[in-house]
């Protein structure tokens, strides 16, 4: 099996980059005073995800999070997965690059993660450190 880094380098030489139309907003549940973060997918990574046969299964990354420092990891040598849709790629990226305490373990009432179109992210950044995820009250129906 070709090493993941070699596959990524080969894919970069072959595929046109794809700027995602999505961003992932998230807050740190262990530091609620911190501003909201915005995850920006990499265009070369997104191109590889959409094309398929480059990235390893997401499960290998999750298992590797428990591998002690310096021990062999599974994800560089795993069989690559097939093509994904952009939405599937964003879900994969959330699991890979955002802490599980945000997308898996959080049980609070406050919404701390949202996937949004890039147009909804403000471009005016004068008050960047005050950004929070807008909370929308759940509609209560009888």
């Amino acid at each position: 099996m070709t090493h993941l880094w070699d596959r990524l380098a080969e894919a970069k030489s072959r595929l046109a980059p794809v700027q995602s139309k999505y961003r992932v907003l998230f807050e740190n549940p262990s530091d609620m005073e911190a501003p909201a973060s915005v995850l920006v997918p990499d265009p070369n990574w997104m191109a590889a995800a959409l094309a398929g046969n480059v990235l390893p299964p997401i499960d290998t990354y999750l298992r590797d999070q428990n591998v002690p420092d310096g021990q062999p990891k599974e994800h560089p040598y795993a069989e690559p997965v097939g093509p994904m849709t952009e939405e599937e790629a964003i879900e994969y990226l959330v699991k890979k690059d955002i802490s599980p305490q945000v997308w898996r373990d959080y049980n609070g009432n406050r919404t701390i993660m949202k996937i949004v179109p890039v147009e909804l992210i403000p471009t005016e950044r004068n008050f960047r450190n005050a950004w929070k995820i807008k909370q929308i009250e759940e509609e209560i129906t009888a």
């Binding site: 501003p35 973060s37 920006v40 990499d42 990574w45 310096g70 560089p76 471009t123 950044r125």
Partner: protein, 123 residues
């Protein structure tokens, strides 16, 4: 994919061990715009960039490093100003590096041109 298995590389005049080239090459790099709509311009072995606040960014690689002892470097600038960028590895991560961009007044500030590289042993 073909593999050249050689101990040295030479241009006829100078010779260098292959290990110098392999170990000295950047295993990940990124160039991004940290203002307005924050976006990555180009990269290698990067899966995402996280905008964590004014002048605060981190990026995560696709192929992790073998341990947390990798080395990251970076530069940044904005129109009319050369700002200091402070790269930082995280003690508990083999896949993420963080940047702090500081302006001449020693305040966190966004920069339009940020660049980072990482050298280290791949997992």
């Amino acid at each position: 994919m073909s593999t050249l298995n050689v101990a040295n590389i030479s241009d006829g005049a100078d010779t260098v061990e292959t290990g110098y080239v392999v170990n000295g090459s950047a295993k990940a790099w990124v160039n991004f715009n940290g203002t307005g709509t924050v976006a990555i311009r180009d990269s290698l072995n990067v899966s995402s960039l996280t905008d964590g606040g004014a002048g605060t960014y981190s990026y995560t690689v696709s192929n992790s490093f073998a341990n947390t002892n990798f080395s990251c470097q970076g530069t940044s600038h904005a129109v009319g100003a050369a700002w200091m960028l402070s790269p930082q590895t995280l003690a508990d991560s083999t896949s993420t590096a963080r940047f702090y961009v500081v302006n001449s007044a020693v305040g966190a500030s966004d920069a339009s041109q940020c660049d980072g590289t990482i050298q280290g042993d791949l997992a």
